[in-house]
Amino acid sequence: MVQIVFYLFILLTLGSAFGVLLTRNVLYAAFFLLLTLLGVAGLFVLAGADFLAVSQIMIYVGGVLVLIIFGVMLTHTKDAGQTDFTRPNYVLTRHRGWLWALVVAGGIFSVLYSALVRANFVLFGREPFFESTVDTIGRQLMTEFVVPFEIAGVLLLVALIGASTLAASSRPDR
């Protein structure tokens, strides 16, 4: 039963990922991305990583994707409708570097694939256990990893200051 659900989620993820690549409409691509991210969240649940799955949905589906859709809607202009929707999108465009792109991507994929297939994971082949990880993560963040957790605050502060200064008007008081 779990296996079937697992393969369904994989199908959902891969299919919608291809949808993102093949569609010519940016808004459709954003919606396909929603399905991809949901599929990945489902895979996280099946792997017993419930916290990761929830944050995936909260951050990506809830935050990033809404931002993308807003971006698409706000940047839309009437005179920009030159895109030809009748023809499909080519994954491999006639860009001059496509051979290199293929070699690099294929190389990374094959190396990662062989490494992951041959790796001996600790939990491999064991029955999946479903217990909440939120408790452990919270405790670890407040004990062992408290320093990176605190200093991540500096990172967020920098990002915040940067966003506000870059977005501030650069013209004299208007």
Binding site: V111, L112, A119, V146, V154, V158, I161, T165, S170
Partner: protein, 463 residues
């Protein structure tokens, strides 16, 4: 650990100082804060501490690297006087970001846990993305910031993936655990470990702009405001190499046979790409960008030939490179302001024509820094190269040594183009007024370059 806490707090204090009506207090305050952090760092001299359950390791090497970062930051802030005159600039914010970015750099230098490395890299990179785009009215700066951001995030993704794989293999993020895992695996560590190391290396090499991950460097360095280019090319490079040195010498020294070939190939590629492309540049700033790639190549020799000498050689070279680069950019800032084409500062070689006639001091400072970058004797750059090359000899890497020497000869060509322009070309350069403190910083950097060039032993005694 103390400088990290202090700088985080000082950054926030600076933001509040920005509320004051007068901006004059910002620059001295930022300089004072950096000096305090510098002093606080030396409190831990000769003591080796592990902080907070193996998160940070502060030893003499880390303090030396942080000192170089702080000195670079001090000089960059000191040269930023013009910045306050610009009505629309937001100096409080940018000084605060500079201080926060040093926090990131110091975490990269003294990390013991890979998570600290990651957070440090992110703080430094995000600060750099912002500073690159800080010249909002300049389209080039906007383009550079966006380019840097997109590619930098991609590289960070690689690095994070690598760390995840390392965790998969070892089950821990600390460097010493990775080391003991490799030692206990009887020479047959999991494939995940190799993959993880490779991906982390790719991410870090991108940050220090080694070939073939260097393609972003020229555009970003050229587009960023000159002041922040100076900061980027010194602080990021020093911190990046400190982080690589820590990673390779502590964790992966047992599998040296695996990674030295990769690093040596990247070193050769970086030296070739940086030096040969620099020859064809017409813009001084773009030439400095390629020169920074080539210096990443020289520094990589020290990593590929990891040994007893590598540590002191890398520290010395970073110091020499930082001093020379910042004074060169300091002169560029002054000169480019005098010549404007289409309302933008002129950053080509021809802007330097005849500089020595009316501004002998500026010409001398730039000449010394070019000589140091080229590695001519009696400057610090010569001893830096010498130490790195002798580290290569210790490992018997003769072919890389020959390549490096050849490439430094190429380097002499493009560094001397500026010197020739300054001393032998006719130009209409008028006298450039330089603020006394600005002048003092330039003279101090030049003096330090020459002193280290004449008595390098002075520095080695500290190590």
């Amino acid at each position: 650990m103390l400088p990290i806490i202090l700088l985080s707090v000082f950054g926030i204090v600076l933001l509040f100082l920005g509320f004051l009506k007068t901006r004059a207090v910002l620059l001295p305050a930022a300089l004072l804060f950096i000096l305090i952090a510098l002093g606080a760092g030396f409190l831990e001299w000769n003591k080796s501490y592990l902080y907070f359950g193996d998160m940070l390791l502060i030893n003499n090497l880390a303090i030396l690297f942080s000192t170089i970062v702080l000195i670079s930051a001090f000089m960059v802030v000191a040269l930023s006087g013009d910045f306050l005159e610009d009505e629309m600039a937001q100096p409080a914010e940018y000084y605060a970001i500079l201080l926060f970015s040093i926090v990131g750099a110091m975490m990269m230098i003294g990390y013991e846990n890979l998570i600290m490395l990651f957070v440090g890299v992110e703080i430094l990179s995000v600060s750099m993305y912002i500073l690159t785009g800080s010249d909002k009215r300049n389209l080039r700066s906007n383009e550079a910031a966006l380019k840097y951001f997109l590619m930098g995030s991609f590289a960070t993704g690689f690095m994070l993936f690598g760390m995840a794989l390392l965790y998969g293999a070892v089950g821990s993020f600390t460097l010493t655990d990775i080391k003991s895992y490799i030692l206990l695996s009887h020479g047959r560590p999991s494939l995940l470990l190799y993959m993880g190391e490779l991906l982390v290396l790719i991410g870090m090499l991108f940050k220090v702009s080694a070939a073939p991950f260097h393609f972003w460097t020229p555009d970003v360095y050229e587009g960023a405001p000159t002041l922040f280019t100076a900061f980027m090319s010194t602080v990021v490079k020093t911190a990046g190499f400190a982080a690589l040195l820590q990673l390779l010498s502590v964790s992966f020294s047992a599998i040296y046979g695996f990674w030295w070939v990769i690093l040596a190939a990247i070193t050769a590629l970086t030296l070739l790409a940086g030096n040969l492309t620099a020859v064809y540049q017409n813009s001084f700033k773009r030439m400095m960008a390629y020169s920074s790639i080539s210096h990443a190549g020289y520094l990589l020799i020290g990593l590929a030939a990891l040994g007893q000498q590598s540590r002191s050689a890398l520290v010395f070279y970073s110091l020499a490179y930082s001093l020379a680069t910042i004074s060169a950019f300091g002169i560029l800032l002054l000169v480019a302001k005098q010549h404007t084409t289409d309302g933008r500062p002129d950053e080509s070689y021809s802007a330097f024509n005849g500089l020595s006639r009316n501004n002998p001091l500026l010409a001398f400072v730039l000449a010394v820094s070019m000589l140091s970058l080229a590695g001519i004797p009696l400057t610090a750059g010569f001893w830096g190269k010498f130490m790195l090359f002798s580290a290569a000899v210790d490992r018997g890497m003769v072919w890389i040594l020959i390549l490096a020497v050849l490439m430094s000869a190429v380097g002499i060509y493009y560094y001397f183009r500026v010197v020739i322009a300054m001393y032998f070309r006719e130009g209409q350069a008028g006298r450039i007024r330089v603020a006394p403190f600005y002048q003092f910083i330039l003279i101090a950097a030049t003096a330090l370059t020459i002193i280290l060039g004449i008595v390098p032993g002075l520095f080695q005694n500290i190590m």
